[in-house]
Amino acid sequence: MEATFYIAGAVAVIATLLVVMSYNLIHALLYLVVSFLAVAVVFFTLGAPFMAALEIIIYAGAIVVLIIFVIMMLNLTYEDVQQEKSWLKPSVWIGPAILSLVLLAELVYLVVAVEAPGTVSVSVEAAAVGMALYGPYMLGVQLCGILLMAGIVGAYHLGRQKKKIVHRFLERRAAS
C-alpha cells in the first residue's frame, strides 16, 4: 500500500506538471485526466475508496469532458497552440514560480515542523460517510443542492447565445 501511494503520488505530480507545461489544450487535458486518476489511486491507498470512485467519475469524467466539449465548441487551431507558446515566456513564469516555491517551502516547513502526527490508520467506510452526510451535514447537502441548482441556472443563462445582450459597460467600451 505504501509503495502504491508514493508511486501514485509521483505520477500525480508529474502529470500535473505536464498539464501546466503543455501548450496544447487537449494534451493538457489528457494529462489532467492522468493526474486525477493518480489522485484517485492515492485516495484508495488512504482508505477512501468511495472518494476514489467519485474522483474518477466526476473529475476525470464529467468535468474534463465538459471542458473538452467547450474546447470543441471554440474550435481551436494550431495558431492557438503557437500563441500559447508565445505567452509562456520565462519572463512571465519565473516570478510566479519563485513565489510559489517560497510558498511551497513554507508549507513543507509547516507540515514537517509540527510534531509527527503519526500515520494514516483506519479506513473510513462509505457507509459512515453516508451516515454523517445525511446526519449532521444535512444542511450542507441541501446547500450543495442549491449551489448546483444555481450552477445549472447560471450556466444555462450565461451559455445562451443571445448576442444582443451586452453589458452596458462593454457596450460603451465598444462604442468608444
Binding site: 516570478g95 510566479p96 510558498l103 509547516l110
Partner: protein, 628 residues
C-alpha cells in the same frame, strides 16, 4: 414746549423716509416742500424752544422717547437732552441747514436725482440733530455714524464718476477709523461707570478719577481719536479735501458747517473727562495747532476753489481744537458757530460761482467775476473777511481773537501754541484773499451762464449778515465786553480761568492779530493782483515749486497712507484672494487623490496579477505565522 423736543430730529427723519419711499413718484415741487419744509419746521421748533429756553433758563430739557434696550443694566434710551451747548449746535444745524436746503432747491434744480438729494440731506440733518441732542453716548454714536453714512452718500452723490465713489469710500472708512477708537472709549467708559449716560458720566467722573487718572487719559485719547476722524484733524484729515466731490451745498452743510464740527461737540460735551486728562487736553491743542498750520499751507497751493475752502475748514477746526485744548471751551464753540456762518457762506458763494461757470472749479480759469456776480462777490467778500479775521467788522475776528488771546492768557496757555495760531491767521488771510483776487479780479476767463436767483441770493445775504454781526454777541472786555455767548454756555462748560494781570496786554495782542491779518491780505494783494512778476518768479524757483507740489498734495499724507496702509492691505488681500488656509485642505484632497491613483494603478485588470496578489498575501500571512 419741551415735549416737542423729539420733533426736532424726527421731522427731518420723517422727511427723509417719505422721500425715500415715494421720492421718485412725487412731483418736484412736493419734494421741495417735504425736503425743505421738514427742516424748516424743525428750525421753527428750535426757535420756539430756544426762546423758551432763554426765558425759562432751566438747566436742561430732557425727554425720553423710548427705552432703546436694556441688557443687564446697560440701558441706553432714545432720549434727548437739550442744554445750552446742544442749543447752540441745533440752532446752527437747523438754521444753516435750512438755508442750505433753500439754496439747494436751485442748485440741484436740474439734477435727475433731486428727491434722493433731499432725502439724504434730511437724513443728515436728522442724524446730526440726534448726535448733538443725545443724552447718552450710544445714541450719540448712532448720530455719529448716521452723519458718516450721509456724508458717504452725498460725497458719492454723482456716483457715475469713479473718483467720487472713491472719495466717498475714503471719507467713510477714514472716519470709521476714528469711530473705532471712540467705540473702544465707550467700552471703557461703560466698564467704569456701568452706563453711557452723559450726565451721569460727567458727574461721576470727577468722583471716580483723580486728575490725570490713567483710565481717564486713555479714554480721553480714544474719544479724541473719534473727534479727530470726524473733524478732519491730523492724522485723519485726508478725507476732507476729497470730500469736495459732492455737490456744493453738501460741502457747505456737511463738510464745513456742521458734521465736521462733531468732533468739537464731542470734546466739549465730554469736557469733564478731558479736564481729568491734561495730557489729552494738550494733545487736542497740539493737534489743533499742527493741523491749522499744515492745512493752511496746503490751502495756499490749491487751485480748486472748493479744495481751498476744504483745507481752510480743516484749518479752522484746528483753531477750535486749539481753543478746546487749552480749556477755552466756550471760545471753541463760539468759533464753531461763527465758522459755520462764514464757511457755509463761502461754500454757497463758491457754489453759485461754480454753477455760473458751468461747473468750473479751477480758480485759474475764473476771474473778473466782481462785476458779473455782484451779490456773490459782496457776500463772498464778507465771508472771506470773516475767515481772514479782518479786524473790527468781521465776526471771525472776534472769535479767532478770543482763541488766540486765551492761548496766552489762559491757564494752560502756551506761547508756542499762540505763535502757531498767529502764523495760521497770517496764512489764512493770504490764502483767503488769494481766493478772492483770483476769482473776482483780473480778467474774465469763462463765460458766466447762470445768474443766481432768489433761492440762492437769500441764503447768501442772510449768512453774510450773520457773518458780520454774529461776532457782536461776544466782545473782548477791553472792547465792549459783551459776554452773551459765554454766559449762555457757562452752566454747561466751565469758564476758563485767565492769568491775572494779563489783561493789560490784551490790546497789544489784538493789534498784533489785526496787523497779521491785514498784512496777509496785503501780501495776497501784492502777489496775486498787483505784481504778477512776483508770482512768476516764485513759479520759476525750483524749491518753491517743490514745496508747492508738496503742499498741493496735502503734505503727502495721501501718499503716505497709500503706501503704508492701503497698498499693503490691498496687496495682502489680492495675494490671499484664494485663501492660503484653503490650500491646506486642497493639499489634503491632493494627498487623497495621490493615494487613489496609487491604488488605482495597482488594479491592472489582469486576473493573473490579482492571483499574484493573493499569493503574496498568503506568503505574508504564512511568514508571519512561522516567524511569530
Amino acid at each position: 414746549m419741551a415735549e416737542l423736543l423729539w420733533l426736532i430730529p424726527a421731522l427731518p427723519f420723517a422727511g427723509a423716509l417719505l422721500l425715500v419711499l415715494l421720492g421718485s413718484r412725487l412731483p418736484r415741487a412736493l419734494v421741495t416742500t417735504i425736503g425743505v419744509g421738514s427742516v424748516g419746521i424743525s428750525a421753527a421748533v428750535t426757535l420756539l424752544l430756544g426762546i423758551e429756553y432763554l426765558s425759562e433758563s432751566p438747566a436742561f430739557y430732557h425727554q425720553v422717547v423710548w427705552n432703546w434696550f436694556n441688557v443687564a443694566g446697560f440701558s441706553p434710551s432714545v432720549a434727548f437732552h437739550l442744554d445750552a451747548l446742544s442749543m447752540v449746535f441745533i440752532f446752527v444745524i437747523t438754521f444753516v441747514g435750512f438755508l442750505i436746503h433753500v439754496y439747494s432747491t436751485e442748485y440741484m434744480a436740474h439734477d435727475p436725482d433731486y428727491a434722493r438729494f433731499f432725502a439724504c440731506m434730511n437724513l443728515f440733518v436728522g442724524s446730526m440733530l440726534v448726535l448733538v441732542m443725545a443724552d447718552n453716548l450710544l445714541l450719540l454714536y448712532l448720530g455719529w455714524e448716521g452723519v458718516g453714512l450721509c456724508s458717504y452718500l452725498l460725497i458719492g452723490f454723482w456716483y457715475k464718476e469713479k473718483a467720487n465713489g472713491y472719495a466717498a469710500r475714503k471719507a467713510f472708512i477714514i472716519t470709521r477709523v476714528g469711530d473705532t477708537a471712540m467705540a473702544i472709549g465707550l467700552f471703557m467708559l461703560f466698564q467704569t461707570f456701568g452706563t453711557l449716560h452723559i450726565q451721569t458720566i460727567s458727574t461721576e467722573a470727577v468722583q471716580v478719577w483723580d486728575t490725570d487718572a490713567r483710565m481717564a487719559v486713555i479714554i480721553a485719547f480714544l474719544l479724541l481719536g473719534g473727534a479727530v476722524g470726524k473733524s478732519g484733524q491730523l492724522p485723519l484729515q485726508t478725507w476732507l479735501p476729497d470730500a469736495m466731490a459732492g455737490p456744493t451745498p453738501v460741502s457747505a452743510l456737511i463738510h464745513a458747517a456742521t458734521m465736521v464740527t462733531a468732533g468739537v461737540y464731542l470734546i466739549a460735551r465730554m469736557h469733564v473727562i478731558f479736564e481729568l486728562a491734561p495730557g489729552a487736553m494738550m494733545a487736542v491743542a497740539v493737534i489743533g495747532a499742527i493741523t491749522l498750520l499744515l492745512a493752511g499751507c496746503a490751502a495756499l497751493t490749491q487751485y480748486d476753489l472748493k479744495r481751498v475752502l476744504a483745507y481752510s475748514t480743516i484749518s479752522q477746526i484746528g483753531y477750535m481744537f486749539l481753543a478746546l485744548g487749552v480749556g477755552a471751551w466756550s471760545a471753541g464753540v463760539f468759533h464753531f458757530m461763527i465758522h459755520a456762518f462764514f464757511k457755509a457762506l463761502l461754500f454757497l458763494c463758491a457754489g453759485a460761482i461754480i454753477l455760473a461757470l458751468h461747473h468750473e472749479q479751477d480758480m485759474r480759469r475764473m476771474g473778473g467775476l466782481q462785476k458779473k456776480l455782484p451779490i456773490v462777490f459782496w457776500t463772498f467778500l464778507i465771508g472771506a473777511a470773516s475767515l481772514a479775521a479782518v479786524p473790527l467788522v468781521s465776526a471771525g475776528f472776534y472769535s479767532k481773537d478770543q482763541i488766540l488771546w486765551l492761548q496766552l492768557a489762559g491757564e494752560n496757555g502756551n506761547i508756542w501754541l499762540y505763535l502757531a495760531g498767529l502764523l495760521g491767521a497770517f496764512i489764512t488771510s493770504i490764502y483767503t484773499f488769494r481766493m478772492v483776487f483770483l476769482t473776482f479780479y483780473g480778467e474774465s476767463k469763462t463765460h458766466v451762464g447762470h445768474q443766481p436767483t432768489m433761492a440762492i441770493k437769500l441764503p447768501l445775504i442772510i449768512l453774510a449778515v450773520l457773518s458780520l454781526v454774529g461776532g457782536f454777541i461776544e466782545l473782548p472786555h477791553n472792547f465792549g465786553h459783551v459776554v452773551l455767548f459765554s454766559d449762555f454756555l457757562s452752566p454747561i462748560l466751565p469758564t476758563i480761568s485767565v492769568v491775572p494781570d494779563f489783561n493789560r496786554y490784551e490790546w497789544m495782542l489784538q493789534l498784533l492779530a489785526a496787523v497779521v491779518s491785514l498784512s496777509g491780505i496785503f501780501i495776497a494783494y501784492l502777489i496775486y493782483l498787483k505784481k504778477p512778476d512776483l508770482r512768476a518768479s516764485l513759479h520759476r524757483s525750483e524749491t518753491a515749486m517743490a514745496v508747492h507740489r508738496f503742499w498741493h498734495s496735502g503734505w503727502g499724507f495721501d501718499k503716505l497712507y497709500d503706501t503704508l496702509l492701503v497698498r499693503p492691505y490691498v496687496f495682502l488681500a489680492k495675494v490671499n484672494k484664494d485663501d492660503v488656509i484653503d490650500s491646506f485642505y486642497t493639499f489634503l484632497t491632493r494627498l487623497a487623490e495621490a493615494f487613489h491613483d496609487l491604488f488605482s494603478d495597482s488594479q491592472t485588470g489582469l486576473v493573473r496579477n490579482y492571483v499574484m496578489g493573493i499569493v503574496v498575501g498568503a506568503i505574508m500571512i504564512l511568514t508571519i505565522t512561522i516567524f511569530l
